[in-house]
Subunit: 89 residues, 2 copies
């Protein structure tokens, strides 16, 4: 049970993390992120830091790993949005 539970966690983390890759690609490709909310990615990034801490104390490695990588991708989207909006002005 414990091993399959870990695998369930890794699969979940893999999906909710990899999910941000198509968004990074789309933003980079369109050079536009006007429909994307700053508020969402700001709140989400702070939340991801807390999830990482939660996973650490809960000794749940899938939570720690998934949230660290998701944080990197979320920050990438935030930076791309900022970059394109200031360049397009």
């Amino acid at each position: 049970m414990t091993a399959s539970l870990e695998w369930l966690g890794y699969s979940a983390g893999l999906l909710t993390t990899l999910a941000f890759l198509p968004q990074v690609y789309k933003t980079w490709q369109r050079k536009s992120a006007q429909d994307i909310s700053y508020g969402m990615y700001a709140l989400f990034s702070v939340g991801l830091v807390l999830w990482t801490a939660y996973g650490f104390f809960k000794q749940a490695l899938p939570i720690v790993m998934a949230n660290c990588v998701t944080l990197l991708l979320a920050l990438t989207i935030l930076i791309l949005k900022f970059h394109y909006e200031h360049r397009n002005k």
Copy 2:
């Protein structure tokens, strides 16, 4: 420790869940979601279902609650995007 750990989890879940509210509002307000990736929200939604199951078996209520509400918001964004793109054609 256990009580503060639960609170850390609830705060994390609250942030990564509430984060999607400004995106729902922005999408509804702009009536456009062209910069938003279908792939992201599709993969993300499947991942959220798996996280909910993981939280259930891990007996981690914050994970279950947060992911259920996030799933509702992610599906709302997916439906709004589909709606606006088919209406604008």
